[in-house]
Symmetry: C2
Subunit: 342 residues, 2 copies
């Protein structure tokens, strides 16, 4: 514990090795890491967080790469959190991508961290929130969070961003369906990447149609309103409201650096919109909420499992009793929760 | 509460409306639903659970459709849980798919339930486990669980299955990378669907290469060994061990019903392997473990949030304090956890 203050201090001083060490400690759930995060907290809240999400193969990493370059040209420092196992930033890349990424690896203004998407029993959004907070405290102007998929992970991770870019790609019929079913409400900007491919215009048209549909039904808050909490009750969902935001659709070819300026400008416009309408505060609250719930959930589970290990032996033994039908999981969970309270 | 016993009774009696009602009650976290699950539990443990997973557009739903038909021909009843928002079973389908699905919708031996992948604060794996348990108690012989993506959701949902089929598709270079990065250890069978497309043989070759690599490093347990707990410590990872399972790779064209018999037979072989080697018990324990942890996590969070609502006002107010930097989330979470214990 005695070294924790100095670790936080070193992170604030911009020491990359200290930041990397803190992130490892966070992964290990070391108590000293919690203390360091507490000390860093007052220095957070300055970074602008942009989420990039979409299916594997949509080219999110190439776009991230271009976004880094765009911000760096403007003198901004950049943090990258790759939650995407297909991302070259996460080591899942083909050789060509890896080599390209090294341009940024040598740039001191860029800090890249990949997240394992497994092995921490649902703690992914907590871990991501912590890494974003560390980069924020380090003074990164912009933090890019790259996620994959259309599952709950992604929704939760997206809730940590101020602006969410959903990356679609032509020729994946089901992909647009996936956006419709799960990602529509979280998109602030759409990028149709690989727009030199056949079908790009159709993808753009499909997205426009979905946005039309959204406008037509915009008086109703979306079904996940209670979870994302990004907007004050109901109102901005009406196109008449000044706070209503129509997600722009931008065609890009990341590998040829086409449309990247337009995409970055769309994100900047969204940021300006949030600021001008006072919506930024709602986003900040939504971000804080997501981070707090993730933290609470992980902490409660870790505490319960530790208690279980102390009292009843290993979790595997409990699982064995359930598998043998000697006890039902509902009663066992109730008993454990009751004991934790008593 | 007084109606709960009869609800469980009606579910066990095969009443579809009662099962649907119970699933809705579970979504709402009604206490009566918990009681019903407790009553159903002794009647679970008979269904064989097969997970199907892969990227959007891989054709998982078409395969699921064919798998249903295969089992039905053998007189087996089938439950389908679609956790995939792109699945036609979930209502995310293009028209053609929807029409095809209706064949099964009229079949009383098939029960289909789609899961919302959002809106329940990390409770997806708990909700899926519950639905699988209800179908099991209803007497379904086989339960097919269709998931999407490569995130943590998928890993957790896959942990509820006895056999996991990973569906790859040719021409998605990154897709194979995704499998490599995150899904390798959970695959018991690989389906290379849309195998009439160019590049199918290359995809098969890539998968073989990855399996070679796995064999070469097989003495080490995989990194997520601690989380999935599917295998007794270390041993079955050696190809010399009789319990070692080499995932077969099957080429399929679901839309033309090609390779489906081979795929189903591969799943049956895996099932026979688990039974013959005694590994089925390890899988049952892993399934019970995953279900228990999911249940515990959701229950703890729900309890904490209820307490928070009673004491400090709405979660949004807590989030607002954090966003305003009046308090840090770490201290607030600690305080709440301490109060819950005291």
């Amino acid at each position: 514990m005695s070294t924790a203050p100095s670790l936080a201090h070193r992170v604030l001083g911009g020491e990359l090795r200290a930041a990397a060490r803190l992130m490892r400690d966070l992964d290990d759930q070391a108590p000293s890491a919690r203390e360091a995060m507490r000390q860093l907290f007052p220095r957070t809240g300055r970074a602008y967080v942009v989420g990039l999400t979409g299916a594997p193969g949509a080219g999110k990493s190439s776009l991230t790469d271009r976004l880094i370059a765009w911000h760096r040209k403007r003198g901004r420092t950049v943090g990258v959190v790759a939650v995407d196992p297909t991302s070259p930033f996460s080591g899942g890349a083909i050789l060509g991508d890896r080599i390209r990424m090294q341009d940024h690896a040598l740039d001191e203004g860029v800090f890249i961290r990949s997240m394992a998407t497994r092995g921490n029993l649902g703690g992914l959004s907590r871990a991501t929130a912590d890494v974003v907070a560390v980069m924020d405290a380090m003074g990164k102007d912009v933090v890019l969070v790259e996620t994959v998929g259309v599952g709950q992970d992604e929704i939760e991770v997206a809730a940590l961003a101020h602006t969410v870019v959903v990356v679609a790609v032509p020729g994946m019929g089901d992909e647009v369906q996936a956006i419709k079913a799960g990602v529509m409400e979280i998109a602030d900007v759409f990028a149709v990447n690989k727009a030199d491919r056949e079908g790009a215009d159709r993808t753009v048209r499909d997205l426009h149609m979905m946005l039309e549909l959204r406008r037509a039904t915009a008086t109703r808050p979306p079904p996940d309103h209670d979870e994302l909490h990004r907007f004050p009750e109901g109102e901005p969902w009406s196109p008449e409201d000044a706070r209503f935001w129509e997600p722009p659709i931008v065609k890009t070819v990341a590998t040829r650096d086409e449309g990247v300026i337009e995409l970055c400008e769309a994100v900047e416009r969204h940021r300006a919109h949030l600021t001008a309408t006072g919506m930024l505060k709602a986003r900040e609250i939504a971000r804080a909420r997501a981070a707090f719930v993730a933290l609470l959930r992980e902490q409660l589970l870790a505490g319960a499992l530790a208690r279980l290990a102390g009292e009843q032996g290993h979790l595997d033994q409990v699982a064995a009793r359930i598998a043998a039908h000697e006890a039902d999981p509902y009663s066992l969970a109730d008993e454990l929760v009751a004991r934790l309270r008593g």
